[in-house]
Symmetry: C2
Subunit: 522 residues, 2 copies
């Protein structure tokens, strides 16, 4: 296995020489029908509206092969130390199933460890949902609140929102979930105003057991519980590492363990997402999500870009970023259930690949991770799509769509259902972005040639959601390999922490810091 | 008043010749203390961490003067037809107060018209909140649901969320507000599952009375009301134009009027935001928001960039976009109450200035509106800030901060309150982005030189929120003037509408459209 910078590969330098094809001209009905790639769990990826023809696909396949993307993925699955900065294994795939060799770290079989935590989650969530475990007021828990930030917040929150409609339609008992993340005291205060503490179970998520925001919010809600005559230790469970101060603490009802081999932004399929999702919708829902993710992980092992959606999506992304020099990407799910999914992907992608140094610690000279943003359609159509259609910059688009709605509760107006209108809009946008429109009035002219792709499935179920999540995790991983960076550390978040702590300790003679701090009376 | 493209102005060509200063070197305590500009309603803007020195400020002032930005703003206030594409006046400022000459359009005094609608909103919202107007089940209305999309959704939703904590602290009776926007039937179905229809009043917002998403959602909720034995016509009010089919309809309890001179994304301070905010928090709250916005509008008339925050923010933005060639901007409020404010600004900015044609219909050759994205701090610090600190691209940052929280309910942990921790983080980030940090390990090195600004106020009140909203509206307006584009139309949203309608009508022989449509069984 060799590691080299993207611009040193032969295939990339060949890719750069290829002429840029016209999407408008490429986009025939035959191409649309034949441009499908399997993404796992019955989800499929369509790249017909991307500016790549057969010569590009050949070059992208060659780049994937030369950069050893599948070999590196296999090595990661088999327990190689792919998080080079922190010298750690990368094991989020293992949390959902065995896709490589057994991995033993420090004498512990990690596959067995993750399965063990799943069993604990199953037993605990079942007991809470059945009413066998009650609150300190003797009441059934009806509400769960996750206290966590970053990866302990965005992913679980996005997944919870994504499954509410599915659970309602399936008639599944649902515990209301809320999330407190920000150290801003207004975040916690707002949630406390909306819930009944005597029926609320808190899930405190902090790997180290020392995350400032999270521990502060623990104190915040614990004080409120004590004021209400409740016993906080019977209303809080922890998701933390075995070595954390929270692990054996009498302040919590129970603890579920995570480890150093799954980074925050990859932790939704560990106990970080598992406890809250199993409490909210039942363990079977979470198990089904893991199964969908595992299917996508297996699919991502296929060495052919014609049969591996994550790999192809990653390599087309490299073409857009490093050859066409496009600095951002929009994620546009045509599903209100995915209202916070783009925010999660923004973290996943930008925190993983927003790096300027390769895995050997050398400065690199080509662009890496793009800016990621997005909101659900059709909403975005009435908002920032103006710039996407007629702005001076081109933004590649990733559409996500489903044949059926989740609730399957609909209305027919002017001869079509809402779901049909939703998807007619999605289809129309792909074509409008690709093809554009001539007009005598320049203000009404659309240049077209805006690249887009589509991830498509029948319905947003837990399994499909798992596959969707894993698709993006694997895409980001492949891109990191191609850029020769470490996608699994986050040194960029450290400096702010150090300086914030300095401010709280009087800025220690740093006049600039003091000058800003004085504005906020600090 | 002359209109010319940015690259034709003498001042811009001078600005381009200035050397780029080092933020790290500029950022002294003296500069921080002296870099404040008034933004109205006691809000202030600080530009100390921007890469501009006195020579840049002089050049930016010259650019503002040469481009006649204040003259154009005055002309707009006085009723000039500044929306050239649609040949309309632009009157959102007038909805909050008289800042220019009286404006009469088609024989109607527009100032009087907006005041008249405010009086109607005051009377109606007072009657609902007092219980004088009840539901068709004879119950008091406890819940309001806005049905609207784009500007009828994002702005009012962001403002509602921004004021909940303030209202709770002030002890103001609050009606729960929800928003249904997406034509995705799961959006409406989810909200209907969360509310008691017999106590719910719907606010249907559509200027034309023909917006497909909105009318479809009206039918969706009306069916549900009929099924529940309720009379929809006593549960729906309309916000629409006088000429719309909804205006005199017996399907609605009452109608509040808007007109063609306030675009959707500028409509939060018209009846579009006024009805829902007055119902939720009382008319006085809305009036206070308008007053804050009006103060910012007046402040924005000042011709000196040293005394006009919106003007200076706009011109520094031009420098970042057109001289330093930075393609995106992040909006980072350190206030959970502003959780959806960045999404509103994303629409405001990208829909207004995502244009490639000047006001005379000629193609322009310099970049216009950037990609806008953002999430509240400290959350973002644990997410996409990695790329902002160590990514290969530089993203300019707009911080927003407040001395005090809204709820004023706090907890002291490790010697500091949550609000102090929040603001210590904000301060730390500004310095970290500006100054960076050397390290032997390249992976822990921060290059710094990341530009940021700060909008600061004592507390997020209705008046401050109004000023904050108006600041960005006026910034976007000044940038549009400088780019010589029309910031007030949105032709880029039309093509998708036409094609979506074609899809719903069988794609009319368009084979490409048909091929996509068949994927969704359309």
């Amino acid at each position: 296995m060799t590691f080299q910078n993207l611009d040193k590969t032969k295939a990339f330098n060949e890719l750069k020489t290829l002429p840029r094809p016209s999407i408008k001209e490429l986009l025939t009905p035959e191409r649309i029908a034949s441009s499908w790639v399997d993404a796992g769990a019955s989800m499929r990826y369509n790249w017909a509206a991307m500016p790549v023809d057969d010569t590009h696909l050949k070059a992208l396949q060659a780049l994937g092969d030369e950069a050893g993307l599948i070999d590196k993925y296999r090595a990661l699955l088999d327990g190689a130390v792919m998080n080079t900065g922190e010298r750690r294994q990368v094991l989020h795939h293992l949390a959902r199933g065995q896709a490589g060799a057994p991995v033993v770290v420090d004498g512990e079989d990690k596959g067995a460890f993750y399965l063990g935590e799943r069993a604990k989650i199953k037993a605990f969530s079942t007991a809470v949902r059945s009413g066998a475990i009650t609150s300190s007021a003797g009441k059934r828990f009806t509400t769960v609140v996750q206290i966590g930030i970053g990866g302990s917040d965005l992913g679980p929150r996005a997944l919870y929102l994504a499954l509410k409609g599915w659970a309602a339609h399936e008639g599944i008992l649902t515990l209301d979930a809320h999330f407190i993340s920000n150290v801003d005291p207004d975040d916690g205060a707002q949630i406390l105003g909306d819930i009944d503490l005597s029926e609320t179970l808190f899930v405190l998520v902090s790997k180290s057991g020392t995350t400032l925001e999270t521990l502060t919010n623990q104190q915040f809600v614990s004080e409120a519980m004590r004021e209400a005559g409740l016993d906080p230790s019977r209303h809080i469970v922890a998701v933390t590492s075995k070595s954390s101060p929270l692990a054996g603490s009498s302040d919590v009802l129970d603890a579920f363990f995570i480890d150093d081999y799954i980074g925050g932004r990859y932790s939704s399929t560990s106990a970080v997402g598992g406890v809250i999702l199993s409490l909210a919708f039942g363990y079977e829902c979470f198990a089904s999500l893991l199964d969908g993710a595992h299917q996508a992980d297996i699919q991502a092992l296929n060495p052919s870009i014609r049969e591996n959606a994550a790999l192809l999506d990653a390599l087309i992304g490299i073409y857009l970023r490093n050859v066409l020099a496009l600095p951002s990407t929009a994620i546009l799910p045509y599903s209100q259930a995915l209202s916070r999914f783009s925010a999660h992907l923004q973290q996943l992608d930008m925190e993983s690949n927003g790096k300027s140094v390769n895995r050997d610690g050398e400065r690199i000279t080509y662009p890496t991770g793009p800016v990621i943003f997005g909101e659900p359609g059709t909403n975005g159509q009435h908002s920032f799509y103006q710039l996407l259609h007629q702005g001076t910059d081109i933004v590649p688009l990733q559409f996500i769509g489903f044949l059926h709605s989740q609730h399957q509760r609909d209305v027919t107006v002017e001869g079509s259902t809402s779901q049909e209108k939703l998807n007619a809009n999605l289809v129309a946008q792909i074509v409008a972005f690709a093809r554009g429109k001539e007009d005598e009035n320049a203000n009404k002219r659309f240049a077209g040639e805006r690249p887009s792709s589509l991830l498509f499935a029948d319905r947003l179920t837990p399994a499909v959601l798992g596959a969707l999540l894993a698709h993006y995790e694997n895409k980001v991983m492949f891109q990191g390999f191609a850029w020769n960076i470490n996608s699994f550390d986050q040194e960029g978040v450290q400096l702010g922490k150090v300086l914030a702590s300095s401010v709280l300790n009087g800025s220690k003679g740093d006049a600039t810091l003091k000058a800003w701090a004085s504005i906020f009376s600090l």
